[in-house]
Point group: C2
Chain length 216, copies 2
């Protein structure tokens, strides 16, 4: 038996459960976003600021995947939004069955928008469908402008790119135009936002867009 | 047949070849470093500056792993040091057989120090021995100070931590003491350097240490 066969079986099982998750989201009218990025791109900070801004506008819940620790969940607890922490115990990405387990803990009638914060990893989560409506890739300016070319699968599979930490552009070697162009070369239909969780730039546009997606 | 068995077989094969690589390095007197980090931590910039400083002091060569593109190899070409690019075609980490293939292209009598730049990924490369003398984990200050706790395997398996982008500390939410302490909680025997490839801070200490390791 070749490894490929095994991998295909694992993916098949994953995709079956992802299909179940997708049906669940559709039936319950929940918009689900799979947030993917490198470690340290600011996913959790972006979530903190986003939950704050969406408070009273949209009913949200968060599922957070981490290799180890519940640090991120504890950071988000103060938002007052239901937060479910998944610990992968070393695994480098979330898979659909783990997300399905988390869904048992959310209240569907109290949830219009579900954020699934994946493990910080710009490679592996690209290949795993969780049943989400879309992948949102977060790339911080501190990572440089070449990441879409070097990690194309993630940018190809995402519908949205959030370029985060724009306040640091003056101090780092990152050309925003180049970053945008590189991302659009890989995936011309990407919707792109530019945000800073430090000075708040771009967060309103991002949250307005999220609100529109939920109300669609 | 369970997935675990398959994984063990893959690792066994990897570890066998890693053993061959290790013997090769020992016989030829080559110090080999496996550089691991998140995408965008500045591995390639650190290498550029390091190769510059070691020029004329130590004979070096570089093997670079990327999911896609030869951007990094092209960046390092101007250093005048032999550079071999490995493209993993989507795989999230380097494995020992791929490194063995690269070793056929280096000149052992012209190499005292070999840098193996792994794929940008703070999870998966931790589990794969390439036969290197040590793993060096690079963490940039822009990633925050909690990464050792969230990605412990990488910090546990490394002998050296390079905290990079120290020039950005004033602009980001990263407490250097906290980062150091978190790393040492996971791995008390880590040797830690602090560098900035922008203002050059700490590069001399890092390069002096490398020189001493080679001359040992």
């Amino acid at each position: 038996m070749s490894i490929k066969t095994i991998e295909r079986k694992v993916l098949q099982k994953n995709d079956e459960v992802a299909g179940d998750n997708r049906r669940f989201f559709k039936e319950k009218g929940i918009l689900s976003l799979n947030l993917v990025s490198s470690p340290g791109s600011g996913k959790t900070s972006l979530l903190e600021r986003t939950l704050e801004k969406l408070k009273g506008r949209i009913k949200t819940a968060v599922v957070i995947g981490d290799v180890q620790t519940d640090l991120d969940a504890r950071r988000l607890e103060s938002s007052g939004v239901p937060v479910i922490q998944l610990v992968t115990n070393g695994a480098c990405h979330l898979e659909a069955p783990l997300v399905r387990d988390a869904l048992a803990d959310i209240q569907p009638d109290q949830t219009e928008l579900l954020f699934i914060e994946n493990v910080g990893n710009l490679v592996c989560p690209a290949g795993f469908d969780l049943g989400e409506d879309m992948k949102v890739v977060i790339a911080s300016t501190t990572e440089g402008d070449d990441k879409p070319l070097k990690y194309p699968a993630m940018f190809r599979n995402a519908k949205v790119l959030v370029i985060n930490k724009t306040d640091l552009v003056p101090y780092v070697n990152c050309d925003l135009n180049e970053l945008r162009n590189n991302a659009l070369r890989i995936n011309p239909s990407l919707t792109i936002f530019e945000t800073s969780c430090t000075n708040g730039d771009g967060l309103d546009q991002w949250c307005d867009w999220l609100t529109k997606q939920v109300r669609k």
